[in-house]
Amino acid sequence: MLNVHLPGLDLKNPVMPASGCFAFGKEYGNLYDLNVLGAVIIKAATLESRYGNPTPRVAETPAGMLNAIGLQNPGVDKIISQELPRLAEYDVPVIANIAGSEMSDYVQTAEKMSKQPVVKALELNISCPNVKHGGITFGTVPEIAAELTSKVKAVSEKPVYVKLSPNVTDIVAMAKAVEAAGADGLSMINTLLGMRIDLKSQKPVLSNLTGGLSGPAIKPVAIRMIYEVSQKVSIPIIGMGGIQNADDVIEYFLAGASAVAVGTANFVDPFVCPKIIKELPEKLNGMGISDINELVGRSWKHA
């Protein structure tokens, strides 16, 4: 009922933690058995280790949060040697999120990651708003996103999902550009660029000034973009943005997503992923649905 098949990914269910909100699974793995998850999307890997931005790195907003972690990670080699072996003990596909400042960073990181047996797909993060060079520009210019996609595709042994930024005028153009360049799937959406100013200090709360807005606040934007893009591309979409419960998952499927990722909600409720996975069959039964794949794009297919 919950099985989903996407390029490179045979998922027992379509629910996975979103990149950056689950590190490399160790902490949540102490709380519950990760085998219940459809997949795990690990924190962005860069070629070299990164400390990220100075703190404060997070701020709360109405129904959302801002983050400017800045892609802190130990670098691709350490992730491969220190983090992946632990994940390999689970029967859960790993999706490796890849980031960089230069095209060559992305390409080298992708090449290394894609060789790891536990890594079943790459998620190309062309949309992180919190790195100063590269990053965001890759995600806002269709031609550059396409070029990066084809370069990564050329070296990757695994399917490549491109994670789109919502901070663009025309999300469909971005999606079509990376599809044409060979992307096997899309992840939508990364965070919206936002800011909060502290009234006492009279300065932005985040030391990075701006941050990425996530959480329930952005769900309507994500749903709209997935609705638009899913009608114009033929590759599957992993949907994300503000998912908190099984109803939200169903809304994403109706919009056109074929799987979902849960980010911020893990911080609110560390058991949210297993809870959603448990709730889903009951919800689907209530709707008279025997296979969740039937829901994909229903909001426009029967329009």
Partner: protein, 260 residues
């Protein structure tokens, strides 16, 4: 560590905007060290979207036999403001116990501890002092507050050992800052929790003897996964170069990490 709907047993205002909250639940049995904290979801309910994030609050004291823990917090913003409306009998969504607390065995047997707190940094020191005195350690407390209206738990600390209260305006105890009286106290190990400027001053002053400091940092997950709460290590040769306040701390050895 567990997530538990804990029951409010008592909830009282004990100073200006300062509340003492007693919660009951099995989680209390998992507390291993004074100085650990809990992460509280205010407003509750699966549909709560504001406040969205949990709020970290130190465990002030805990009694496993009755499964009761005490928290003391300042009500100021959205989350703590709503929390302050919780009534006896209500359930509160708590994640914990989290982090590493104060190492009480750092004090030699029969030794002397100095416990230095400032404002809402004071609460976890109460449980610390209870644990230290229970081990036979002689504890001196130096507690700094802004003004008389902000002082809490003075009597409770006095029962455990010598207690020097400092207020910035002199309306209670002595006028001045906690650092003003440090040289009047004899101790083997110092423990502290309070505002960053205070901790910085202490790290400058207490260099000969062990000092442990508890840090505050804005948090996302509270369990080590989101990297919101990191701070640099001071040792440039450290293999990671950073620590997470939520799970590597919140208590660190003085000068182990940069105070944020």
């Amino acid at each position: 560590m567990r997530q538990e709907a804990m029951r409010v047993l008592a909830h009282e205002k004990i100073a200006d905007a300062i509340f003492e909250l007693k919660l009951k639940g099995g989680m209390v049995n998992e507390i291993t060290e004074p100085g650990q904290f809990v992460h509280i979801r205010v407003g509750g309910g699966a549909q709560t979207v504001a406040p969205l994030l949990r709020r970290p609050i130190s465990i002030c004291s805990a009694d496993p036999s009755s499964e009761i823990m005490t928290l003391i917090y300042r009500s100021g913003g959205l989350g703590t403001g709503l929390l302050s409306q919780a009534v006896v009998g209500e359930k509160v969504d708590v994640l914990g116990p989290l982090g590493h607390g104060f190492p009480i065995d750092a004090v030699p047997a029969g030794g002397k501890a100095l416990v230095i707190g400032g404002g809402v940094g004071v609460p976890p020191l109460y449980g610390l002092s209870q644990a230290l005195t229970a081990q036979g350690v002689q504890v001196t407390h130096v507690l700094g507050f802004r003004s008389a209206k902000d002082v809490f738990y003075q009597d409770a600390f006095e029962k455990l050992g010598r207690t020097i209260v400092m207020t910035e305006d002199g309306t209670c105890g002595q006028k001045g800052r906690v650092t003003d009286v440090l040289n009047t106290v004899d101790f083997d190990v110092a423990y502290s929790c309070g505002p960053t400027p205070m901790l910085k001053a202490l790290e400058r002053e207490i260099t000969e003897k062990p000092l442990f400091v508890s840090l505050e940092q804005r948090m996302g997950c509270g369990i080590g996964a989101c990297m919101a709460c990191v701070t640099h290590t001071t040792d440039p040769g450290d293999s990671k170069g950073y620590r997470r306040v939520c799970c590597d701390g919140p208590v660190f050895k003085a000068r182990e990490v940069e105070l944020c």
